[in-house]
């Protein structure tokens, strides 16, 4: 790739539209995040892929991180912007700790902060190219919310980003119920992640499931899911119509 986009900004002082700070397109991207509330808190699943266009370039990216004591942040979209958001949150958590007043940022506060950041960047036509999932537990209350790159923000019992919205959420709408056990929650998420593995080109078979409860955060080791290919119909699909698919 050897092309360069010619930019003629003109005089920065006179020309108010210096385009120098506009994110045009993402480079290294993460795919879906799927998250659900369960009995003890929140479960969040993501794969460990960082795609570079259609190339599955990075296979060890952690897209879910603990924030403070009470929250879990998952991100899809541009990884460099996610890394920058983590830096902002580092500062937020540091300042929160420096008050040393026994209080600590809960998931609701972190979600609100992120919503303001994302919406304000959208207003300047320079978005952080991410869809973020924020889950957490504080004082026995579970919280799960989402913010998109255009600042759309909401809470729900189950959320998913990207392809997950189309493939995982219908499964969750059918099968989620309040007070899921940890085992049932994990099985439900794995069902969603398996479908995404079959049908999302940018998904890779290496995932982590993260859990947050009143006690704290646990991020599972990376692991792979078994897949099923032994349908009779898969063995000779074009037998009846050679050349078809």
């Amino acid at each position: 790739m050897t092309f360069t986009i010619p930019i003629d900004n003109g005089d920065a002082l006179k020309n108010a539209e210096t385009d120098s700070q506009r994110t045009l397109y993402p480079y290294v991207t993460g795919t879906s995040i799927v998250a659900i509330k369960y009995k003890e808190g929140v479960l969040m699943a993501s794969d460990m892929g960082g795609s570079y266009g259609s190339t599955l370039r990075y296979k060890n990216i952690e897209r879910v991180k603990a924030i403070g004591k009470h929250s879990l942040l998952g991100a899809s979209g541009e990884i460099s912007d996610f890394q920058e958001i983590l830096r902002y949150l580092d500062e937020l958590v540091l300042n929160d700790n420096m008050w040393d007043d026994g209080n600590s940022l809960g998931p609701k506060e972190v979600h609100n902060y992120l919503t303001r950041v994302m919406y304000n960047r959208r207003n300047k036509f320079n978005p952080l190219w991410n869809t973020l999932v924020l889950g957490g537990v504080k004082n026995g209350q579970s919280y799960l919310g989402m913010v998109s790159m255009i600042g759309v923000s909401f809470e729900d019992n189950h959320v998913a980003t990207g392809f997950g919205n189309h493939l995982a959420r219908p499964i969750l709408r059918d099968e989620w119920h309040a007070d899921l056990s940890f085992e049932d929650g994990v099985k439900l998420l794995e069902k969603c992640m398996r479908v995404l593995l079959y049908r999302d080109r940018s998904a890779i078979n290496k995932l982590q499931i993260s859990k947050i409860t009143e006690e704290g955060v646990t991020v599972s080791q990376p692991y792979s899911l078994k897949t099923f290919w032994e349908f009779q119909a898969f063995h000779n699909p074009t037998a009846g119509a050679q050349g078809s698919w």
Binding site: T2, S20, R22, T23, Y27, Y52, R57, S80, Q83
Partner: protein, 233 residues
Amino acid sequence: MDLNLDAPHSMGTTIVGVTYNGGVVLGADSRTSTGMYVANRASDKITQLTDNVYVCRSGSAADSQVVSDYVRYFLHQHTIQLGQPATVKVSANLIRMLAYNNKNMLQTGLIVGGWDKYEGGKIYGIPLGGTVVEQPFAIGGSGSSYLYGFFDQAWKENMTKEEAEQLVVKAVSLAIARDGASGGVVRTVIINSEGVTRNFYPGDKLQLWHEELEPQNSLLDILNAAGPEPMAM
């Protein structure tokens, strides 16, 4: 055939960085192109940032040079203030700072590699956009497309210094064979606790790949060397 001599200088490039048991080996080709013309057939794309940290440059030659110049300047000051050699992580983060904050204007992918006393040998990949990824090995540049499969198969943990360097040379050489934007010599830089070693592998010293022939001085040598009936079946 449009030479397009006004095209920006670009290092099509193949760059590679590999960790081994005790340090890192960085490798690169040496071709800098202006459109279809090879502006420099012996460039050095492995640039020093500090005594113990080097960076492999790919993409726009100008962008990668100016970024590494700034970071060398910052690291120099940082080393003075710190009173000891800068770490590889700090070097990578400074590159990230420039790459991320100027993402709209820069077109350069970099691989930072080095050795420090805290973490040993480390490699950080910094692709377009300014993401930082710490990796046991990294590949970049246009030639890297041809190396994903190769490394999936050939990479293993805890190689020796010799194994690591051979892997790097083989990889860059394979990429040069298939990527028109990569070519020339293979340069390597080995960094460990003992210091830095630069090596140079000219094109004719590399292994031959599929459909490549042994270089000759002249057809006449072939004709003269063959037996009395060179064309007989």
